[in-house]
Amino acid sequence: MELEESNNVLTGIVRGEIDAHTAPVLREKLETYQNEKNLEAVLDLSDVNYMDSTGLGVFVAFYKSINSNGGHVKLKGLSARLKRLFDITGLGDIMDIEAVGKGGK
């Protein structure tokens, strides 16, 4: 996980597996930013090869707090498996997500 912030824009790359073991680490890192006002966050998940519902919970919590502070969260580089997870849970409709190979939005 790499995070970098400048001028209210947070860019990050998440790598590896997000499961019950690694999700708390991710949550902790994201929580550092969640109370900032008007934050534009773009997280690249291209190198995430596995994510379970615990990981999903982390992103939803982040999305909720950033949104309530007037900011925006975008998740990009979602694999087909991750995209399905967001679609099934209905989160794909409320969050800004972008799958692999459908870039340029």
Partner: protein
């Protein structure tokens, strides 16, 4: 007692000084286990060693005895760490007992009765990965052939998930309506969950309302793994998709509902992601594998089918499921 231990140790030491054999070392190891069992602290062991040495080799230079005194001081903190470990082990045992009790309470609290419906064979299996189950199946039924089923999965595991599940149960209890429409049920439970839970805790839920007279199932989903319909006539599997957001994310969420009609031999398969998200060294266990397992047993009673799927998935994952597993099959007979 202390004197006996002292003289035992002196004897082991004396023999070792003479021969330095493997057997002497082995005696020493066994003796140290006995000392640990009796809560002897490290500094006491070294004091004992010093006393034994003084008796046997009294004319050693003073620097040797002084060095032991320093070592004894050094060991005091180790002795405290050991005591701390003992009390942690005891505390852990207490927690384990409490968890067992809580798991029992949960089982009693969330108990549900599988309805008996004309023309429908129901198979159900729900197995927690840890002690507390984050999956939940709830039935509500009446005498006129109407039955509702909720299959829910709390995101998160263990104790917090179990507490959250109780909330869903009380929400369902307060509705207590076997004819309730799925979209209304999901709407009500969404509000209950949204008001009361932590920001990173959510529930996915499938709700199906079965009408035995017409053999129809009306269903809706709140971010839940889609149910699967197996058609006996064409021998095909298809996903029953229904749009709807996870419970607890937004109070404004709206839920769809759809209806399917079941023919003889059709199967309605409802589950949690513990069934579909299985993995082993070779990668993910694809849904087609699960379909195949069900297809093999399609002529068996519903309970036999769910058991077969569970047993085979456990086998494929080397007897270790990492998530709670819940599978319900409705078979039209």
């Amino acid at each position: 007692m202390v004197q006996k231990i002292d003289s035992q140790y002196k004897e082991i030491l004396r023999q070792y000084m003479q021969r330095q054999s493997e057997q002497n070392l082995y005696d020493g190891q066994n003796f140290s286990r006995q000392l640990i069992a009796e809560n002897t602290s490290p500094e006491e062991v070294i004091s004992m060693h010093k006393a034994a040495m003084q008796e046997m080799y009294e004319d050693l230079p003073d620097v040797v005895w002084h060095s032991f005194d320093l070592l004894i001081e050094m060991m005091i903190s180790y002795g405290l760490a050991l005591q701390e470990r003992e009390s942690l082990l005891q505390r852990q045992e207490e927690l384990r007992v409490e968890m067992d009790l809580a798991a029992n309470v949960q089982e009693t609290l969330l108990k549900t009765t599988t309805p008996s419906l004309e023309g429908l064979d129901i198979g159900l299996l729900s197995i927690p990965a840890r002690k507390m189950n984050g999956d939940y199946v709830y039935f509500v039924s009446d005498q006129e052939g109407h039955a509702g089923i909720a299959v829910a999965d709390v995101i998160g595991k263990g104790l917090p998930a179990a507490l959250c599940m109780s909330m869903v149960k009380f929400g369902m209890d307060s509705l207590n309506n076997s004819r309730a429409r799925p979209k209304d049920v999901l709407d009500v439970i969404n509000r209950v969950v949204e008001k009361s839970i932590d920001d990173s805790m959510f529930v996915s839920m499938f709700y199906g309302s079965y009408n035995a007279g017409e053999a129809t199932m009306t269903y809706g989903s709140a971010g839940h793994e889609p149910a699967i319909l197996y058609r006996a006539k064409s021998e095909t599997f298809s996903e029953l998709n229904s749009k709807g957001l996870l419970l607890g994310v937004s109070p404004a969420a709206k839920y769809e509902e759809h209806t399917v009609h079941l023919e003889q031999g059709d199967l309605l398969i409802m589950m949690t992601d513990g069934v579909t998200e299985g993995r082993n060294e070779e990668g993910f266990i694809e849904r087609e594998v699960i379909f195949e397992l069900i297809h093999q047993m399609k002529d068996e009673p519903a309970q036999v089918i769910v058991r077969h799927v569970y047993d085979e998935l456990v086998r494929m994952q080397n007897a270790e499921l990492s998530d709670d597993f819940t599978l319900v099959i409705y078979k039209k007979v």
